[in-house]
């Protein structure tokens, strides 16, 4: 019998999908493999490729087996194809096919829709590795460097996951799409990545933490809704990816939290009570809270754009056809078809912001974005607890969803972070208070000095409360290769 829980290493590609007996797909993946390795090798600086990193690798898809830690050189990381165990008699959870058995093969009428969704998801995975490629050089600690590389190798594995689906279920088109995933490149003029936020730079570690908190959280929401897909292999793939994605959320939330903590501690030690006493605070070598708020404003709003238009027929089609569900679809108590339901969305009418009810089916994006905002607000609340505990008078907030938008009803208009419509002059006057300026970026960049002694941390960030895998504070998470 096929073992579909434990990861099999009998082919070049670790998997729990019985690849060794699926010669066609195995051959296709083996053909794709060298291109992937080349992509990885060209991307990550050489001395990190040679370093031993304390990484987590899944050895099975049951809970005991997917967090095995060991020192690995990144090019030897076991990227593989891992699907969550098949749920017996799983049914399509939403849309017009609600209640029918989940599809094990691609339904012909949804083939191009499905392929497009998989390609868009797949395109984001290598993009973030590309965006973060130089961060290892300025890691504030070996602990953080390990976390970065863990995120990177897992994004690489997520690419594998999507490429497997393309090869297995989409024939020649799928193979071409898989090749294109390695051809496009973040920030490239000729062949950029598909989504805007994935062509932005991740120039420093605070940006990285904000990215993993806000932008990877969009990824998490997309995976959550694809995990509800009636196409069972996609659902199983995304369910397992979510277990890895949780680590990325962790890196983001604790990274920003530790930055905030260090700033507050340094302010207290220096007797500074006014969080807006920016020059003095920066002189301490820490990032002032108003600047952290500006970074938050930027990354949150860029991520909101990833959800697309508030009202979308594409999203309606994906839901209705059972290809993509809602966040926590199974826990929602309704008919799962949204017949006759409405949902509140923003709109601009006569230059004013208004909310009105639209058919819920067309507001799927908006609903997911609202779920996202609620999820994102949780961590902001916990950051505020850190600030309050250290006695500093400041509160981080999520800006209004109209602020700094490039997609949706608020695009082309100017708002402040509380949602007031502004003239161009008003916006220009305030922008430097709301979004990071070049000078802000330069300041953060000036703090980005590597700290590679085990147990030591750069001055702008606090050590974590607990180590990875229960390791003590001075654990050598990365054994750096010395050329």
């Amino acid at each position: 019998m096929l073992d579909l829980i434990n990861v099999s290493y009998d082919t070049q590609i670790p998997n729990n999908v019985g690849l060794s007996s699926d010669k066609r797909v195995l051959k296709a993946l083996e053909k794709w493999h060298p291109g992937y390795i080349n992509w990885w090798s060209d991307l990550i600086p050489q001395n990190f490729q040679e370093s031993l990193i304390y990484l987590r690798t899944a050895v099975s898809v049951d809970p005991k087996g997917w967090a095995k830690f060991d020192y690995v050189k990144m090019p030897e990381y076991r990227w593989g194809v891992l699907l969550a165990p098949q749920v017996e008699d799983r049914r399509i959870p939403c849309g017009e096919h609600f209640g029918e058995p989940a599809w094990q093969e691609v339904p012909g009428e949804y083939r191009s829709l499905l392929r497009r969704l998989i390609v868009i998801q797949g395109d984001t995975e290598p993009a973030s590795v590309e965006q973060q490629r130089f961060l290892g050089l300025t890691a504030p600690s070996l602990y953080d460097m390990r976390n970065l590389f863990q995120v990177n190798v897992e994004e690489g594995r997520h690419l594998w996951a999507m490429v497997y689906l393309l090869h297995k279920y989409f024939g020649r088109d799928g193979r071409e799409e898989a090749d294109d995933l390695l051809r496009r490149s973040s920030g490239s003029e000729e062949a950029p990545r598909m989504l805007g936020a994935f062509n932005e730079e991740t120039p420093d570690w605070l940006s990285f933490f904000m990215f993993t908190y806000f932008t990877d959280r969009d990824g998490k929401m997309q995976l959550e809704s694809l995990a509800q897909s009636g196409f069972d292999p996609l659902s199983r793939t995304c369910r397992f990816m979510l277990t890895e994605e949780a680590h990325h959320m962790f890196v983001g939330e604790t990274g920003v939290g530790r930055t905030i903590q260090r700033t507050c501690e340094a302010m207290n030690a220096a007797g500074i009570t006014d969080p807006y006493d920016i020059d003095k605070i920066r002189d301490l070598g820490v990032i002032d809270l108003p600047l952290i708020q500006k970074k938050l404003n930027m990354h949150y709003t860029l991520s909101l754009d990833l959800f697309g238009q508030e009202v979308s027929t594409n999203a309606a089609n994906a839901f209705n056809s059972g290809i993509k569900g809602r966040y926590m679809e199974q826990r929602i108590d309704d008919d799962h078809k949204l017949e006759g339901d409405t949902y509140k969305v923003w709109d601009m009418v006569d230059g004013k912001m208004v909310q009105h009810e639209v058919p819920a089916l067309t507001a799927i994006n908006m609903r997911l974005r609202d779920d996202y905002s609620r999820d994102a607000a949780g961590g902001v609340g916990r950051w505020n607890k850190i600030i309050a505990k250290l006695g500093v008078q400041f509160e981080m907030t999520l800006p209004h969803e109209s602020f700094n938008r490039k997609i949706g009803v608020f695009a082309d208009k100017l708002f402040d972070p509380t949602g007031n419509l502004l003239s161009g002059a008003e916006y220009d006057a305030g922008e430097a208070n709301w979004l990071p300026t070049h000078a802000d970026g330069d300041f953060i960049q000036s703090l980005m000095k590597p700290c590679t002694e085990p147990g030591k941390y750069a001055g702008w960030i606090a050590p974590p409360k607990v180590g990875i895998d229960n390791k003590p504070g001075d654990f050598e998470y990365v054994k750096l290769h010395m050329a």
Binding site: P63, K64, A67, G378, N470
Partner: protein
Amino acid sequence: MTKPLKQHLIDPEICIRCYTCEMTCALGAIEHDDNNVVVDASKCNFCMDCIPVCPTGSIDEWRVVTDPYSVEDQFGWDELPDQQEIGETEADTGLEAIDETMAALLAEAHKGAGGKAKAPASASKPTINMYNLGKPAQATVQGNYRLTDETSDSDVRHIILNFANLPFPVLEGQSIGIIPPGTDADGKPHLPRLYSVSSPRDGERANFNNLSLTVKREDRGVCSNYICDLKQGDTVQVTGPFGATFLLPSDPDAHLLMICTGTGSAPFRGFTMRRQRENPSLTGSLTLAFGARRQGELPYFGPLKKVPESFMKKLFAFSRREDGPKQYVQDKLREEAAQVATLLQDPGGYIYICGLKAMEQGVEEALSDIARSVGLDWTSLRDTMREDGRYHVETY
């Protein structure tokens, strides 16, 4: 008083509310509100499936309680409550193992410390009970070597178990359970027997996910005979790891006096190898007092001779020598009274005793005399050391 209970909790200050644990729990014992993710004590069956899936390390928290914290209590928390003082009986109120049988065995082994043991402050956080009777781990025997002379009637063996891909996080000083196959006289499956791990945390061979045991064949011992007869390639059912106090301090400035007889050397082999791998240049901070009948019956005598005296001072005591009077470990301690006295008064000094129950009395008398010689009362000194996590006894 109702029997205390080990309650699984989640640290709200570290949890990021990803709900991965909640989705993993097959029993629905984990739930959340807008504030916290919590474990319902009435539903949790300690299967430990949620422990490895947590990305943060917030999930591996335990409190011994008389009344479990309710789900509502936990929803209201901003931080975890401290462990309440609820008693001195280790089996009931300690956190060495989750399942009662193993907790009772360890409590019995720790009795000689004179009170509830505490872990060294700088010890790494141990994982306990990851595998249990219902869901044991399977290991493969990688080697089985006799440590005692062929001519001796004492058959002590060095067994290497390989866990291959299975995570099995273990610290030096912890024990694992081995389940002998078959059934007992009542036709019930055998319960696991406890054995101290004799290799360091990163493996018998570093980074090979294997560990070693030091096992003496006991006359009619169901499990020891089973283990001593294992062949390379055999598979073994393993539970654990267990034990949360008999651990190595991570502090490189800690001075250790390790006193053992026979297979009681197992944890100290792990301690020593860990120190050798982590701090090979340390000098003068380890002392081993090791007793056996004869040199040929002292496990690891050969390898021990190779450890430089500057790295670890070794005091061997042989109770059946042809060339001199009987010597026991306590005699060696008395010979080195000045050094032992210094260690007793050093806040960075640690004492570990491991071996047969019979050794306890003699060792304690020696320590007591040495304490008295420098004007200290042994009982109160021992209690202080134990409370500081610096006095450890594991005898059987």
